[in-house]
């Protein structure tokens, strides 16, 4: 977090309203569309506020590279990438330390709901392209990914959706936008399973007391619910 905060972002909450007019527990507008890439086995497009992500699933198919084959279950290959034009400073194409780590935690966020054992020896490729970034890219990508996996017909025990809980001006808020993420105190991306609300991804950086962490977890549980509804609605609309 930058220490030199521009004047207009010093106050991120005014009269219980945030800079984009949302309340503290309000998500940004969510838009999900299923089946946007005809050549993929499953795909989804999602917008959460100004963050826009494309997700595509190819597979289950022959596993490549072959030495990575697991004879007992399918291997989920996740590749998360911020496209060069997705942020104000151009992102250099190709994997970075950041994108490598996010690909890893995203894989872990989804693996536990997929019945990978149904496809031993095969691979499922999941590609997540961030076409515009305004905070919450990994959370948005995960929400899109599980819709794309469902569209590909891959058996899962539930959907996974994700958001972020943050601390801005000493108060907890859901689904941070760009300036809130850049100039706020804490950011905690979190992913949950629709059926049991167990947590499949959690990262945090900034500052949380024990109480704040506890509150953040229960806020997340509530905030993620509309995302599950949006995922289901998008899938139902597609198959109607």
């Amino acid at each position: 977090m930058a220490s030199n905060i521009p004047e207009k972002y010093k106050t991120l909450i005014k009269n219980n309203k945030r800079i984009d007019g949302r309340t503290l527990d309000e998500l940004r507008p969510v838009k999900i569309k299923v089946g946007v890439i005809p050549s993929a086995d499953g795909s989804a497009y999602i917008e959460i506020g100004n963050t826009k992500v494309l997700a595509a699933v190819h597979g289950p198919k022959e596993m490549f590279p072959r030495h990575m084959i697991n004879e007992d279950r399918a291997v989920l290959n996740v590749r998360y990438a911020m496209l060069p034009f997705s942020t104000s400073e151009r992102v250099r194409p190709g994997p970075s330390r950041r994108s490598n780590e996010i690909s890893k935690v995203t894989r872990h966020a989804l693996e536990s709901v997929i019945f990978l054992e149904e496809y031993p020896g095969m691979g499922i490729d999941l590609t997540l392209d961030i076409i515009q970034a305004d905070a919450g890219t990994r959370a948005t990508a995960i929400t899109a990914a599980s819709v794309a996996l469902a569209h590909a017909g891959i058996p899962m025990k539930g959907l996974v959706a994700a958001t972020a809980i943050g601390k801005i001006n000493d108060r907890l808020a859901v689904d941070l936008n760009g300036p809130e993420d850049n100039f706020g105190q804490t950011d905690m991306p979190i992913a949950m399973i629709s059926t049991n609300k167990n947590i499949t991804l959690l990262q945090m950086d900034g500052d949380f007391s024990k109480e704040e962490f506890k509150t953040a977890l229960s806020m997340a549980k509530k905030a993620i619910e509309p995302l599950f509804e949006a995922q289901r609605a998008a899938l139902q609309k597609y198959y109607k």
């Binding site: 220490s3 030199n4 490598n100 609300k197 007391s209 962490f213 977890l217």
Partner: protein
């Protein structure tokens, strides 16, 4: 993976009653922290947790600041899983696990705001100190993140800033003082094995684990960084319990770091 399936099942089935080395579920192995082990480095530390051993070294150079923070020095944490430390490690470019370790340790240090980066500015916009913390794994027997985090902050605490000669080169024989360090962030990692929370997992235990959660705590007991890893889900309660363990265990380790640094002679 070097663990046999049968051994894995044995560990998983018995973990709730007894761990292989007889520890309780929250008990750490013996930790030793040494400082000043690399004379050429500006600061260094060796950390052993049981059979796990890492070396952390700090090197400083003059560089240009990032455009969005022209008045701040730069800290970078990097790690290498050398093939000498484990049959699981291969030589070559850093793999996923080592990138994750570097980034988790890096975030702990960055987010605790332990280094006063403004004091590392030499000439605003053009010259700042770049502080590199490099961690190498000497022997891998699990819990690498905690060992690396302890090593990184200890090395930073003992690091000495070189003198800048008139021609702009560095004199690494004479020093102007210590790095401006304010805080001691300590990561504590626990895992979930067959639904039992296990702290300070050995390598075998890590291979048997379903999910892993690292929580970094600062002096006032607040959390400054967290990372869940591993393919399985965790309940809210399990995460809160692990965060509590981290608060408790980090205190003991922080005292040990302080005691070691106090004894350190420049």
């Amino acid at each position: 993976m070097t663990l046999l399936y049968q051994n894995m099942q044995y560990i998983r089935n018995n973990i709730a009653k007894n761990r292989e080395d007889g520890r309780t579920s929250e008990q750490f192995r013996d930790i030793t922290i040494e400082t000043g082990i690399i004379g050429r480095a500006e600061g260094s530390a060796r950390v052993k947790i049981g059979d796990t051993e890492i070396i952390a070294g700090v090197k400083m150079e003059i560089g240009t600041p990032f455009p969005d923070s022209p008045g701040e020095g730069i800290i970078m944490v990097n790690s290498e899983f050398s093939a000498l430390a484990s049959p699981d490690f291969e030589n070559g470019p850093p793999r996923e696990d080592s990138i994750e370790l570097s980034r988790v340790v890096d975030r702990g240090i960055r987010e605790s705001k332990t280094v006063d980066v403004e004091k590392l500015c030499i000439e605003k916009g053009s010259k700042v100190w770049m502080v590199f913390v490099d961690i190498t794994i000497v022997n891998h027997d699990g819990n690498l993140i905690d060992a690396a985090g302890i090593g990184a902050i200890t090395a930073l605490l003992t690091a000495q800033i070189p003198t800048i000669n008139e021609d702009g080169t560095l004199n690494r024989e004479e020093f102007v003082g210590s790095l401006p360090i304010k805080e001691i962030p300590v990561p504590i990692t626990s895992g979930l094995i067959n639904n039992t929370i296990i702290t300070d997992m050995t390598k075998d235990e890590t291979e048997c684990s379903d999910a892993i959660f690292t929580v970094t705590t600062i002096e006032n007991e607040n959390y400054c960084a967290m990372q869940k890893a591993g393919p399985s889900e965790m309940t809210e309660k399990q995460m809160l319990d692990i965060a509590n363990i981290a608060q408790k265990e980090s205190k003991k380790i922080r005292s040990a770091i302080k005691a070691t640094v106090k004894k350190h002679k420049i």
